[in-house]
């Protein structure tokens, strides 16, 4: 692929992505209290939950962010839907910079077009409202349909869309199982007829057979309604199933972003390889798994240089000193000195039927 280095492959593929974020960052204040700073001389400290993340999602596609707890993936989700204000960086939705909107009316009009589904279907539905009212709220807020009967008809249509019956509208959330509640969350998200859904670990709280139902439903809805998804998950197998593109996050930064099929066939970044290595082997191929030592460091005090270097088997002096930026490598973006310098052992070419292994040098 002949692309100028530094541009996103996805951005080059389509003229205008539905969502583009550039250099997005969000810091949280983690300083000791004012008096402690004054008396004990503590300094202000910032927790860099998200520190310079850029990606773009073409219309109708799914980009997934994957990583372990504390990597900032949920913060990105919240920044995009406006639950947090970014410390720096821009969010562009359909060519419009979201932060430049000043008028309440414009913000609201834009808000209608993107919605979020949360992880915990027990916490995200008001227990004292009937399901019908929960789903109708976005319709009323945005004034999409007028009149009692019309709203009722629309909620029933939405319920049917997510596989629930019209009679379920009269019940309360506690009468449903986790999977059904997640269907209600999806129906509510769809009520304002959005183009874009942020899905923050939508199936992590569910059993596997129910997870399969929800994932299938989300794929069906995407095909039928032409939705665009930002999908957040820690489960690589789920991500592989859902995504067109995958971004791997570690300590607030993207360390690799690639087409899903390339990423899983040929992971570049050592952290991506580690994550792939941790997926349990259901094929029982007897592939030896070498658990990688170490844990995710505290984001308050990330290691200097490449933040992954303390756990990386390929780290050298440069990695400890200099922070790698995303650069284009064989069509994918990866932030790793070892990849750039070509000193990383190649992952053996794999056909999809072979076990995924990453071999370190003998």
């Amino acid at each position: 692929m002949a692309e100028p280095a530094g541009s996103l492959p996805s951005a080059a593929a389509t003229p205008r992505p539905l969502l583009r974020v550039a250099e997005l960052a969000r810091y949280f204040d983690a300083s000791p209290p004012f008096l402690n700073r004054l008396l004990l001389g503590g300094r202000r400290r910032a927790l860099k939950a998200v520190d310079g993340v850029s990606f773009a999602i073409p219309r109708g596609q799914t980009l997934s962010l994957v990583g372990e707890s504390g990597c900032g993936k949920s913060t990105v989700a919240r920044l995009i839907v406006g639950l947090y204000r970014p410390t720096r960086g821009t969010i562009e939705f359909d060519g419009q910079d979201v932060s430049l909107l000043r008028k309440e009316r414009d913000v609201r009009a834009l808000r209608r077009r993107f919605q979020i589904i949360f992880q915990d279907p027990f916490a995200s539905l008001n227990p004292r409202w009937r399901v019908r009212d929960i789903i109708a709220e976005p319709i009323r807020v945005h004034g999409l349909v007028r009149g009692r009967a019309a709203i009722r008809a629309r909620t029933e249509e939405l319920l049917a869309q997510v596989g629930l019956s019209a009679a379920d509208g009269g019940k309360y959330p506690h009468e449903f199982s986790g999977g059904q509640r997640q269907r209600i969350s999806i129906a509510r998200a769809l009520a304002s007829a959005p183009e874009f859904l942020v899905c923050d670990e939508p199936t992590s709280a569910l059993d596997v057979s129910v997870q399969a139902q929800i994932l299938n439903l989300m794929k069906d809805l995407q095909a039928r309604l032409g939705l665009t998804y930002l999908f957040i998950s820690h489960n690589l197998a789920v991500v592989n199933h859902m995504s067109d593109q995958v971004g791997v996050m570690y300590l607030g930064r993207l360390c690799e972003i690639a087409e899903a099929k390339t990423l899983f066939r040929r992971p570049l970044h050592p952290y991506t390889r580690l994550l792939l290595e941790t997926i349990p082997d259901l094929e029982l191929s007897g592939r030896p798994r070498v658990p990688v030592a170490g844990e995710v460091p505290s984001p308050i005090d990330p290691p200097p240089g490449c933040s992954f270097h303390p756990r990386c088997p390929f780290a050298n002096e440069r990695c400890r000193r200099e922070r790698p930026e995303l650069h284009l490598h064989e069509g994918d973006l990866v932030a790793c000195h070892a990849v750039e310098e070509g000193r990383l052992p190649a992952v053996e070419a794999q056909s999809p039927s072979e076990p995924l292994t990453t071999r370190s040098e003998a």
């Binding site: 596997v208 794929k219 592989n240 082997d281 995924l356």
Partner: protein, 334 residues
């Protein structure tokens, strides 16, 4: 009926039944479960929420919260009945001969005592070591579970450890009296994927070295596939299939196991639709008659609706499904 394995059984559950009386009648959380665990064997117990797998584990060590109670069946440990022992006697078995690991390491550790004190106390209770030897043993155990510089870390408190390190401490605590059996209830569920792999590796290594049998209770088929020798699949309080790991994973027999395996997204699977089992696990007060799975089963026939299947032998596996009954086979060809 119990399911035989080729080694002498360490733990036997015979027709175990656990009931919880409630306002809406008696709920049967575990219904006629018979299982065996051999010396040094890892038995994976897998199922979705509400399948009764954790209650089965709790019943073995007498930790069913009242008003719940063991309403029938027997629990035999090393050939000796333990479900009817008085509290004090059972307490001695628990910890010494049966260790436990729970999902959340913070609930298993006392936040007010250093981990060393908790380990040493347990060692002193269950062994005849002197306090000094007990401390040395605690340090050895911490180093075995992979805690760096154990001689210093032993005096630290639980909050000074990360989640993965805490779970290592809990494993050390479970193993400190050299138990014959460890009941591990979702030991890796609260951990990140990379830490999960580390903990599974530690648990596997230690149990192999000490010859400890493990009852590994989890909802995660991946963890089972990495660890277990045999697998029991539970659904609505009953065992629906039990067999060697490879048989259950590669050639599942019960339609529920087939659906469960198909619904797990994999890296190599096609990216089309996942196999899905419609509906969800029935609530305990609404367990269907006959085979509890029949309303969701794609292959259910008339007999399934009113007659409950018992475990039927099929090759190396056992499954409770009428498809495998000799009568049904003439019609449907297995």
């Amino acid at each position: 009926m119990t399911v035989p394995s080729n080694r002498p059984p360490l733990l036997q559950l015979e027709h175990l039944r656990v009931e919880f009386p409630s306002r809406h009648g008696t709920l049967t959380a575990v219904d006629d479960v018979s299982l065996e665990i051999a010396e040094g064997e890892v038995l994976g117990v897998v199922g979705e929420s509400g399948a009764g797998k954790s209650i089965t584990g709790a019943a073995i060590i007498g930790l069913i919260e009242p008003p719940g109670r063991i309403a029938g069946g027997r629990v035999l440990f090393e050939g000796e009945r333990i479900d009817d022992l008085p509290y004090e006697k059972l307490r001695r078995i628990r910890g010494k001969r049966i260790g436990t690991i729970f999902q959340d390491p913070l609930t298993s550790l006392n936040p007010l005592y250093s981990i060393g004190r908790q380990l040493i106390e347990t060692i002193l209770t269950h062994t005849s070591l002197s306090p000094r030897e007990a401390r040395q043993r605690a340090i050895d155990l911490l180093s075995e579970v992979g805690i760096p510089s154990p001689a210093q870390r032993i005096d630290h408190y639980p909050h000074q450890f990360s989640g993965g390190m805490r779970q290592r401490v809990v494993i050390a605590l479970a193993l400190c009296a050299n138990p014959r059996l460890v009941i591990a209830d979702e030991p890796t569920t609260a951990l990140d994927v990379s830490i999960q792999a580390q903990i599974i590796a530690v648990l596997k290594k230690l149990c192999r070295e000490h010859g400890t049998a493990v009852m590994l209770i989890t909802h995660d088929m991946g963890v089972i596939a990495e660890t277990a020798d045999r697998v029991a699949v539970m659904y609505a309080g009953r065992v629906v299939e039990v067999g060697p790991l490879r048989e259950v994973v590669k050639h599942p027999r019960h339609p529920y196991t087939v659906g469960l395996m198909g619904s797990i997204p994999t890296l190599r699977g096609s990216r089309a639709r996942l196999a899905q089992i419609d509906g969800s696990m029935p609530r305990l007060n609404r367990i269907p008659p006959g085979c509890a799975f029949h309303p969701r089963c794609p292959r259910a026939f008339e007999r399934c609706e009113h007659e409950r299947p018992e475990l039927i032998n099929d090759g190396p596996s056992w499954t409770s499904c009428w498809l495998y009954a000799p009568l049904a086979r003439t019609g449907s060809d297995g």
